[in-house]
Subunit: 166 residues, 2 copies
């Protein structure tokens, strides 16, 4: 008898309610990265993203997430983030900054907007003025920063770990 | 005064020794995914990968990791994994299987070979017979599985969280 047998097409775990985690994404240089973020969101049970760039979402990359993640396109992320903060969401920037908290130590609020910067420039000063906290993922070697989707995957994983039941 | 100021080009954290975490990667359909795994490894302080496919590593994607991560190409992953196990490494398969452990609960051994399956087929039965444990990342929505690089990023993050100093 095999000890570990591959389980194909395991059904996703149902969440009692949509996760109150919203991804707010700065303009991506690459529609591939945007599409990969949509797939990540779908798998993680995230149902809402904010985005302010022109890139299209590639269904071959985002897969079924394209049907379950609502992506609101805005000319600027600042107004919807401010609205969400007024509603009680905590806005967390994923960026290497002064006064950042290591992601290992960070305790998320359930209602969180996770704010993601562009591939090269990261988060703008304007957006950094809106965040309640910034979290930073330790890097131990070269190149000195994770790809934007990789870093977002880690930050989303940490959230799911803290709120495994949603 | 700004509360959070972007720190550009923060130097990686030095590790007192190379991480005793080795990525063993099944044939990828895509050289892009392989190259992204190399970048992930470089950033995480991983210095060694095993790979048994023909794809080339794209330096535009892997960036400087191409110089710091040694990628050993093998015709089969089984013999080097068995050698590493004989040396005391624990072999952990990242796969949805029977008897898997949720990554949230899993306690890594420091000396670990993290075994990654192909994009579509995952880990073969042959490789699953070699692993000591399998870990699985909960999925909460569609599509029902994470992209291979995304899942690997989460598993590597969890390792680094448990061994922040290497």
């Amino acid at each position: 008898m095999k000890r570990f047998e591959h389980v194909r097409h395991r059904a996703p775990l149902p969440l009692p309610q949509p996760r109150p985690l919203i991804l707010a994404v700065s303009p991506m240089r690459s529609g591939v990265n945007l599409s990969r973020l949509v797939r990540l969101a779908g798998c993680a049970g995230i149902t809402r993203m904010l985005y302010n760039g022109p890139q299209r979402i590639d269904a071959k990359i985002a897969r079924d997430a394209i049907d379950v993640v609502r992506v609101d396109r805005r000319r600027s992320l600042a107004p919807p983030i401010q609205e969400l903060r007024d509603q009680g969401y905590r806005c967390v920037g994923l960026e290497q900054t002064t006064n950042s908290t290591c992601l290992y130590e960070y305790r998320y609020e359930r209602r969180t907007v996770l704010l993601i910067g562009s591939e090269r420039e990261g988060l703008t000063d304007k957006l950094l003025r809106l965040v309640d906290d910034t979290v930073e993922i330790p890097v131990y070697g070269q190149p000195a920063s994770y790809n934007v989707v990789t870093a977002t995957a880690m930050a989303v994983y940490e959230y799911c770990r803290q709120f495994p039941a949603g």
